[in-house]
C-alpha cells in the first residue's frame, strides 16, 4: 500500500530545509522498496515544528517534527510510515494543545490539503461559498458579508461589507477587485501562509467579491519578498481556471471573473491602498489624496474594492456557513476570528487563529510558551512597525480592536513581536523613525521630514548631558509626533508616533 507523506511546500518549512527532506525521503523509500506518495501541503502554522512531516496511517495523520535531513534514516528505521515511535513523533498534531485551542475558520484547510489541488479543496468545503453566492444577487451577498461583521484584516478594520456596498452601488463599465498582498509589516505572515497553504480560498473570495460588486477583473498585488508564494498562487490560478472557477463564464453562471498576480518591488508604502493602486498602474508608489475613495475612483480611475488577503480569504467560509455563523465568534464590534502571528523572540512561534477575546498574555504564554531565549518578556509590539510597544503591565489587554485602541495600541494585521529583557527601547523608537524615513513615499512633509527630525531628536535625548536638556528634547519629540500624527496624509507618517511614543511612555528609563 502506498503511504501518503505530507511535506509542506512553504516558505518557513523551506527556510529550515523542507526541500531537502523531499529528496531524501524519496531516495530512502526507494532504497527500502517502500511505496510512498509525497503531498505538498501548506504549513499548519506551527512554525516551531517545521519542517513538520506528517504520515497518513490507519490511526490518522501522525506528525513528526521538526525533521532534519539527518533524521530520515532513523525515522524509516522507527517505521514512521506506520506511525512508529520516535523522539520527533508528535501523534496527531491536531491533538496538541497548540492546535486544539484554536478556532480555525479562515485557516481551516491550511496545511491539511495539497495546496493547489481543486479536488482536495472541494472535499473540505471549498467553492461551496461561491456556489451559494452564484444563487444570490449582489445585494444579498453584500448583506451576508455585512451580517458577518467582518472588518478589514489588513489593519484599518473598516467593515468589508460597507466597502463592497459602495463599489456595488457605483456605476461604471469596469470595476476591479484588488487584493492587497503587500504584507510588509514585520511580525506578520498570515497572508503568505494562506496564499501558500490554501490559495484557492483567496481565489474563491476574490471571485465572490467580483460577482457581488460587478467587477470582472482582479489583481493580487504581491510583495516581491515572497517568490515561492508567487509560484504557488499562480499554479492555483491556473488550476482554478482549468476547473471553470475563473474565466468568462464562472461555473456556467454567465458571469465573468479573471485575475492575475502582479509583483511589488520592495516598497513598504505600497501596502497603503492608494500607493498600491499607483504601483499597480505602473507608477511610483506615492499615496493619493482621499477623497475620492478607491471604492469610487480606484484602479485606473474605476470603482475598486481593495481588500487584504485575509479579509478576502475569509469570504468563502462566510458564504458557505452564513454571515451569522461567522458573527457568532468574537466579541463586541470585533466579530469572527483573527489569525494572530507570534514572532520575534518566542519559543513556539507561528499562526494562531482564534476568536477575538483572548488576552495578549494568553497568546504569548499559553500558545507561545514565552520567549525563545528563556528570559522574561520585556516589550511586545503588536500590529507591525506602526503598532505600539506594550510593557508587561499591559499584556492582559484583550485582543480586540476597541480594547487595543483604549490603551493606545492597535491590533493591525495581528502580528505580535516579542522582545526579551535585552531590548533597548530607545533604540527601537529610533528604528521606527528611521524606518519611516527610509520608507516614506515623500509626498507629505510631516512624514518625509518629520521622521528624519525624529531620528535626530531621539539621538539628542539619548546623548543629553543632563536631565534638563533631555526633558527639553522630549518636549520636542512629543510635539513632532503630534504634528506627524495629525498632519500626515496616510498611516505611515500618522502612525509612526505610536511605537515611538509608546516606547517613551512605558520605557522612559531607556532614553538616557
Amino acid at each position: 500500500m502506498t503511504t501518503r507523506i505530507y511535506i509542506p511546500r512553504e516558505t518557513t518549512a523551506s527556510s529550515l530545509g523542507a526541500e531537502l527532506l523531499v529528496d531524501a525521503i524519496i531516495t530512502e523509500a526507494k532504497y527500502r522498496n517502500l511505496p510512498i506518495e509525497i503531498v505538498r501541503n501548506g504549513s499548519r502554522g506551527a512554525c516551531f515544528l517545521e519542517p513538520l512531516v506528517e504520515v497518513e496511517t490507519a490511526a490518522g495523520r501522525i506528525g513528526y517534527g521538526p525533521v532534519q535531513i539527518e533524521d530520515i534514516a532513523e525515522l524509516f528505521d522507527a517505521d514512521f510510515l506506520g506511525g512508529g515511535k520516535h523522539k520527533l513523533a508528535l501523534g496527531n498534531v491536531e491533538n496538541l494543545p497548540w492546535f486544539k485551542h484554536q478556532q480555525r475558520l479562515t485557516f481551516a484547510r491550511c496545511g491539511l490539503i495539497a495546496a493547489t489541488s481543486v479536488e482536495e479543496y472541494k472535499k473540505l468545503g471549498g467553492f461551496t461559498g461561491l456556489q451559494n453566492a452564484l444563487k444570490k444577487d449582489g445585494k444579498a451577498i453584500v448583506q451576508e458579508v455585512l451580517e458577518s461583521g467582518l472588518r478589514g484584516r489588513g489593519g484599518a478594520a473598516f467593515p468589508t461589507g460597507i466597502k463592497w456596498r459602495t463599489v456595488m452601488d457605483a456605476n461604471a463599465a469596469q470595476k476591479y477587485i484588488v487584493c492587497n498582498a503587500d504584507e510588509g509589516d514585520s511580525g506578520t505572515f498570515s497572508d503568505r501562509m494562506i496564499m501558500e497553504g490554501d490559495p484557492l480560498s483567496l481565489i474563491e473570495g476574490m471571485t465572490i467579491a467580483g460577482i457581488a460588486v460587478g467587477a470582472t477583473k482582479g489583481f493580487v498585488y504581491l510583495r516581491s519578498e515572497y517568490p515561492l508564494t508567487q509560484t504557488i498562487l499562480n499554479e492555483a490560478i491556473v488550476n482554478a481556471r482549468a476547473a471553470g472557477y475563473l474565466g468568462n463564464n464562472v461555473l456556467g453562471s454567465g458571469k465573468a471573473f479573471e485575475m492575475e498576480v502582479r509583483m511589488g518591488a520592495g516598497a513598504y508604502i505600497c501596502g497603503e491602498e492608494t500607493s498600491l493602486l499607483e504601483s499597480l498602474e505602473g507608477k511610483r508608489g506615492q499615496i493619493r489624496f482621499k477623497p475620492p475613495l478607491p471604492a469610487l475612483k480606484g484602479l485606473f480611475g474605476q470603482p475598486t474594492v481593495v481588500n487584504n488577503v485575509i479579509s478576502l480569504a475569509t469570504i468563502p467560509v462566510i458564504l458557505e456557513k452564513g454571515g451569522k455563523h461567522y458573527a457568532n465568534f468574537g466579541r463586541g464590534r470585533s466579530l469572527g476570528t483573527m489569525p494572530f502571528q507570534l514572532g520575534g523572540n518566542i519559543k513556539h512561534g507561528g499562526l494562531v487563529e482564534t476568536a477575538f477575546g483572548l488576552t495578549l498574555r494568553q497568546l504569548i504564554e499559553d500558545f507561545g510558551g514565552g520567549t525563545a531565549t528563556g528570559k522574561p518578556v520585556r516589550a511586545v509590539q503588536v500590529g507591525g512597525p506602526l503598532g505600539a510597544y506594550f510593557p508587561d503591565s499591559l499584556l492582559d489587554t484583550v485582543c480586540d480592536y476597541e480594547e487595543f485602541a483604549k490603551v493606545g495600541g492597535m491590533l493591525g494585521h495581528g502580528g505580535v513581536v516579542v522582545f526579551d529583557t535585552s531590548v533597548n527601547m530607545a533604540k527601537m523608537a529610533r528604528f521606527s523613525m528611521e524606518f519611516c524615513s527610509n520608507e516614506s513615499c515623500g509626498k507629505c512633509t510631516p512624514c518625509r521630514i518629520g521622521s528624519v527630525r525624529g531620528v535626530e531628536t531621539i539621538d539628542k535625548i539619548v546623548a543629553a548631558k543632563d536631565g534638563k536638556e533631555r526633558d527639553k528634547q522630549h518636549i520636542i519629540l512629543k510635539d513632532l509626533c503630534e504634528t506627524m500624527e495629525s498632519a500626515s496624509l496616510c498611516a505611515m507618517g500618522g502612525l509612526t508616533p505610536m511605537p515611538v511614543m509608546s516606547a517613551v511612555k512605558h520605557f522612559k528609563g531607556d532614553f538616557q
Binding site: 516558505t11 527556510s15 514585520s186 505572515f189 511589488g264 498602474e281 507608477k283 502571528q341 520575534g344
Partner: protein
C-alpha cells in the same frame, strides 16, 4: 544542511534582448513594474539604456521611467554579484539578534550593504521583513529564504554557494 541553488544565469545587457523580453507586457495596462522586474531577472539590473525603450513601450516619458525605477528598492542600476544576499533588519529579527548577525555577515563578506564582495560572488542588501518572523533571524539568498540563521550557519552556507560558483564555472568551460 541547507538548500543551495546554483547562481542565476544572467545575460549580458543588449538593447535587442531587453526590447524582446519586455514585449509581453506591451498591452497590459500599468505593467511597467513587471517589465522592470523582467529586465532585472534577465540581466541582474535595469540598464540606463533600456529606459527610452520602456518609455516608448508604455507611452510615458523617460523621466517617468527613471522616477519609477528609482522609487523601488528592488531595482538595481548596476550589475550585482552572482548571488544577492538580503539580511532582514526588521523588528522580529532584531528581537532575535539580527544586529549582531548583520555585523558578522558584513565582517565575513568584507563588505557593507549595497556592496559586492571582492570576488564578485555576493552582493549584500538589507530587507525589511521576509515574512518568516517566527524563525528569526532571516536571510534571503536570491529567491531562497533561510530561517534561524547564525554566524556559523551563514559561514557554511556561503562556503557551499561559493563552491556552486566554482562548479558552474567549470561546467561552462
Amino acid at each position: 544542511m541547507m538548500p543551495a541553488a546554483s547562481p542565476a544565469r544572467l545575460q549580458e545587457f543588449t538593447l535587442e534582448v531587453a526590447t524582446a523580453v519586455v514585449q509581453e507586457f506591451k498591452d497590459q495596462p500599468g505593467a511597467l513594474i513587471s517589465a522592470l522586474h523582467k529586465l532585472q531577472e534577465t540581466f541582474g539590473y535595469v540598464d540606463e539604456a533600456a529606459m527610452p525603450m520602456l518609455g516608448k513601450l508604455f507611452n510615458v516619458s523617460r523621466a517617468e521611467v527613471h522616477g519609477v525605477t528609482s522609487f523601488y528598492h528592488d531595482f538595481r542600476r548596476s550589475k550585482p554579484g552572482r548571488y544577492t544576499i538580503r539580511v532582514c533588519q526588521a523588528e522580529a529579527c532584531q528581537a532575535m539578534g539580527s544586529e549582531a548577525l548583520t555585523a558578522s555577515i558584513k565582517q565575513q563578506l568584507g563588505c557593507d550593504f549595497h556592496e559586492t564582495t571582492a570576488d564578485g560572488n555576493f552582493t549584500l542588501e538589507k530587507v525589511y521583513c521576509l515574512g518568516n518572523c517566527a524563525c528569526s533571524p532571516n536571510v534571503m539568498v536570491d529567491k531562497q529564504t533561510y530561517g534561524r540563521v547564525t554566524a556559523d550557519s551563514f559561514k557554511k552556507l556561503t562556503t557551499v554557494l561559493a563552491g556552486k560558483v566554482s562548479s558552474s564555472k567549470e561546467g561552462s568551460k
